[in-house]
Subunit: 229 residues, 2 copies
DNA sequence: TTACTTGATGTGGTTGGACCACACGCCTAG
DNA sequence: CTAGGCGTGTGGTCCAACCACATCAAGTAA
């Protein structure tokens, strides 16, 4: 057992037992090192790992915003992990897209029409109508899909969805360059978005799932998944 | 930009560009520190993060087994991340189970009957028949479900499946204590496993998916998900 | 010649100490 | 009462050293 893992275990124990909760502050690095009888280096290595996992956030300076506090950002952890393994070609982009279709279809079929996330999604659609910039459009698109996922009310699915999107974001961005006519594509995407939202509002979960699957697969097909990169 | 993140970027770049591939060896920590003009501490922090992500493995000593080498264990990264966030009560166990049902059902419906993973799954079932120990049975059960997931041929789904299982493994272990009659449950599980496998072999994906969903939900319902913990 | 011992070498693991930049909050001078 | 400076505590970074471990090569004894 390496030293920093001992620190990891201690912190995880504090989290499990509830003695360290969301928003709580970890003891200062020097203090924690002394308390656990290890070097500050080992404490820092453990904190670094938890930071990468989206569990902690380190802040310099003094005052309420400073110090190392407990956060909850599961998407960050899953996202960077997936991105790294995609980088090693161990996780094919094809599988990532396929999984995204699976999760998003499920979320669409389960989305509750009265969810506040859907109102947010509708608002994002309005914003996308008056948006000429490609990059800004894509950023709004990401938020729209995340809002749809949130509407299903499953935090794990939402986190995984977001992480999948993050993992292939750079890849997807390159794909848009393959598109023959961006304006036409954007118009089509807007229409498809509205169709999905309407299906959910109509309590037609299976139609919504079907539309989402076609929406995602259609985009990657048009942009040339498999032919490029 | 913090120093260790610079190291992270450098390594990720090496991975993306293919100059560092699976099984490849990272330069020695001291050497890499000098090369990137940073301290060994920062290099170590970056390596620690990638180790937690299942991308690297550090080995002491000398020779071919030593040094820091590139591995590919996405399940480890996703698993510990999920486990930590479950520990902070940010990801409800209910959502984890629900997601597991979703992924496993999909995998069962897509499993290719001729996949070698299915042969492995069948072998595991044989082993479970002659297994009286509860803990050993559960370990084999995990491997059985992972083999089923592998048979669908989607690495991302397999990794997520395994990580979900890992994240609630301790929780599930505690649940078995709630069971009124373990022997009866084990017998039922064995029968259900065979049913699932048969459905896949018969090319009946939808029946396999249905059986898997009932199999998982039934277990957690019997063990008292929601009533306990 | 063969087999064993022994040391050199190189790896990550750990430690302590030092210094920096930063941000807050008190405390003093105006 | 206000405005500025400075003390204090935080994480961020670096360095130099030492340890444990595993291998490999040279040397030695059989």
């Amino acid at each position: 057992m390496r030293t920093h893992q001992l620190v990891l275990q201690w912190i995880e124990g504090q989290l499990s037992s509830g003695q360290l909760a969301l928003g709580g502050r970890l003891p200062a690095e020097r203090s924690l090192a002394e308390q656990l009888q290890v070097s500050r280096t080992s404490v820092r290595e453990a904190i670094r790992v938890l930071e990468a996992m989206g569990v902690l956030r380190a802040g310099v300076g003094s005052g309420p915003e400073a110090g190392t506090v407990v956060i909850a950002d599961p998407t960050a952890a899953l996202g960077s992990a997936l991105r790294l393994h995609v980088a090693t070609s161990h996780l094919p982009v094809k599988d990532v897209v396929e999984t995204r279709v699976l999760l998003e279809s499920w979320a669409a079929s389960r989305a509750r029409p009265e969810s506040p996330s859907l109102a947010e999604a509708a608002r994002l659609l309005e914003e996308m109508d008056g948006c000429a910039d490609t990059e800004e459009f894509l950023a709004l698109d990401v938020r729209f899909h995340l809002a749809l996922a949130d509407a299903a009310g499953n935090a794990v699915v939402s986190a995984m969805m977001g992480s999948l999107r993050e993992a292939i974001q750079e890849y997807a961005g390159r794909l848009t360059g393959n598109l023959p006519d961006w304006d036409a594509t954007a118009t089509r995407l807007r229409a498809e978005h509205r169709g999905i939202l309407a299906a959910i509002t109509d309590h037609d979960g299976s139609r919504a799932a079907q539309l989402v699957a076609e929406h995602i697969e259609g985009y990657y097909a048009e942009a040339g998944l498999g032919s490029g990169a």
